[in-house]
């Protein structure tokens, strides 16, 4: 079963969507019903002071799948993403309503340890942000936070993380050089390795390739395809081809008239890009968005 999509072909079998093996008309709820959910967002609203940035978003994030959030600038994609590991807490005057459940546990409930939430839900940022430390210390930073001290244990974690981030072969001989000496794409993979080193369950990526050249972008995308075997990935992207290439599910966000962001459509990625139900999604993914 192949579908014509944008300017490329999406092979559902190759891309691992075939096992669902459902008619394209199957509703998203039916598709999701067969999957295990990692996160569940229920009626989430985020306020910056008086300003409402998110208007009651509800969304299910399936385990070990890549979920992409697309939409025009300012529609609240990043706000949504950052509320999934409570990074919004860092912005002063932020208020959150609704629930974000990580394995059925609301991370905004009282008594939840933010540190634990952030360990389980890692984050990769738009611009590579390695610490001004050696490659080794960059990756060891997280494990050390959680009390891993033994050198042999750290060595093992670091090798595994760098291998998973497809960076090991390039840096194994210069682990004690500064992380800032790497190229942009390598720095971003270092940041991914750093996030993997604390053994997260989900990884949030906020336009992880937007500061990279096409080759480095492709490597990040390949990496995501490999990582999704073990991790749940949520990616925010401006690049629709990227969303189409890598993700299993796509959520389309738009800004309402009061500038609060809302989720207008959520579906299998192939369907979002070939037969969107909402006119606005269609306009956006076909580049006719005004």
């Amino acid at each position: 079963m192949t579908l014509q999509i944008m300017n490329g072909e999406l092979n559902l079998e190759k891309d691992g969507l075939a096992p669902m093996n459902l008619p394209t008309k199957a509703s998203i709820d039916m598709v999701l019903a067969d999957l295990e959910m990692k996160m569940e967002i229920r009626d989430l609203s985020v306020f910056y002071g008086e300003f409402r940035a998110l208007a009651g978003v509800s969304l299910k994030i399936p385990s070990q799948k890549i979920t992409a959030i697309i939409g025009p600038s300012g529609c609240g994609k990043s706000t949504l993403l950052r509320s999934l590991n409570r990074m919004n807490d860092l912005t002063s005057n932020t208020r959150t309503e609704g629930e974000v459940c990580l394995d059925e546990q609301n991370i905004y409930a009282q008594g939840v340890d933010v540190v634990d939430v952030r360990r389980r839900v890692g984050m990769v940022f738009q611009r590579p942000n390695p610490f001004p430390k050696s490659i080794y210390d960059n990756v060891a930073y997280g494990p050390r936070l959680y009390g891993v001290r033994r050198r042999s244990e750290l060595d093992e974690i670091i090798e595994n993380s760098l291998r998973q981030a497809a960076l090991w072969d390039e840096v194994k001989d210069k682990l004690h050089q500064s992380g800032l000496a790497l190229s942009g794409g390598q720095q971003q993979r270092l940041c991914i390795a750093r996030a993997l080193a604390v053994e997260p369950e989900a990884i949030l990526m906020d336009e992880p390739a937007s500061a990279l050249d096409p080759v480095a972008t492709l490597r990040i995308e390949e990496l995501m395809q490999n990582l999704v075997e073990h991790y749940t990935i949520v990616i925010v992207t401006h690049n629709m081809q990227q969303a189409a290439r890598v993700s299993d599910f796509t959520g389309m966000m738009m800004m309402r008239d009061d500038r609060a962001g809302e989720l207008i459509e959520f579906d299998r990625t192939d369907l979002i890009f070939t037969r969107p139900k909402d006119k606005r999604t269609e306009d956006y993914v076909t580049g006719r968005f005004g």
Partner: protein, 317 residues
């Protein structure tokens, strides 16, 4: 040509005279700015050359290793003042650096909080307070209450002078650290204090250290605040104080106390006093002191620069 095209009217033409005028103006201004740039170097070179010329003759081993001799006796050194400057600067650093850096961290993290605004305002005002007033304050605060002049009072006065430099430079340097580094650390679950300590401060370290050294250099060159606090002490000998302390079986704390509880000299203070005296040998020694003082400040500056460059080269790989 179609009739609808308007004839193009030209207003600007190339003029040989205009070109020559611009070229000459350019040359003139280039010459003027170059000359002024060279002139800006003159004071420093002149001062260094003159101080070396006048002070060089006083410099010998005894100058660094002996205490002053009584007037009329030839020779002697300024060991007391070298020790004094080191002790006073160390005390000032001890009093000013830890609170300065901590205050700067607070002000950088909470720039719009009432306390953050107050800190910024207070440090600005404090950096404008004349140093002699700071000396008077030290006198009133410590000398008056303790009943005697002391290195402690001098160190505190110098610390007050250093504090605004340290707070402001540290704050600026922390603000320059990209926000994304902080987020990167917090996203791994690191608490705020850990993020500041192991990511933000190391990232800002070069600038902070430069600021600290500027502050220390400023403090080590100050005279006015010491006049009412450290006073001066030609018989001060740290080695002897430590030796006596050890011989009489005192603990390290009480030896430390003995070092800082009495009046102390410093290089600028000695320079100031010697330069006023009518004896030519004292005047020559004053120049010698000036030379040492300059050498110390210069060496600190150059050393710091080299260190910072090496460090940033290592970080950038």
């Amino acid at each position: 040509m179609s009739s609808s095209t308007l004839p193009l009217k030209r207003h600007i033409t190339f003029s040989r005279a205009g070109y020559n005028r611009r070229r000459i103006t350019n040359l003139l201004m280039l010459g003027l700015t170059g000359l002024m740039a060279a002139l800006a170097l003159v004071p420093l070179i002149w001062i260094i050359a003159y101080v070396i010329l006048r002070g060089g003759s006083s410099i010998n081993l005894a100058f660094f290793t002996q205490l002053p001799r009584p007037l009329g006796a030839a020779g002697g050194g300024v060991l007391h003042a070298i020790q004094g400057t080191l002790i006073l600067t160390a005390l000032a650093g001890l009093f000013a650096i830890p609170p300065g850096i901590l205050a700067a961290i607070y002000a950088a993290r909470h720039p719009n909080s009432p306390l953050g605004i107050a800190v910024r305002f207070a440090t600005d005002v404090l950096s404008g307070v004349p140093s002699i007033v700071v000396g008077l304050f030290g006198y009133a605060l410590i000398v008056k209450t303790q009943g005697h002049y002391s290195a402690l009072a001098g160190g505190l006065a110098l610390a007050i002078l250093m504090l605004p430099i340290i707070v402001r430079t540290t704050e600026e340097m922390i603000k320059l650290v990209p926000h994304t580094l902080r987020e990167g650390s917090l996203a791994l679950g690191a608490p705020e204090w850990k993020t500041t300590l192991s990511v933000i401060l190391p990232a800002a370290a070069n600038g902070i250290i430069t600021g600290l050294l500027l502050g220390l250099a400023r403090a080590s060159g100050e005279t006015a605040p010491l006049l009412f606090t450290a006073l001066g002490n030609e018989r001060y000998d740290a080695f002897r104080i430590v030796k006596i302390g050890v011989q009489t079986g005192q603990g390290p704390l009480s030896i430390l106390n003995a070092l800082i509880e009495q009046p102390i000299d410093s290089l600028p203070l000695t320079l100031w006093k010697y330069a006023q005296q009518p004896y030519p040998e004292r005047i020559d020694q004053a120049w010698g002191v000036a030379l040492i003082l300059m050498a110390i400040v210069l060496a600190t500056n150059i050393g710091a620069r080299l260190w910072v460059e090496r460090r940033s080269a290592r970080l950038k790989g």
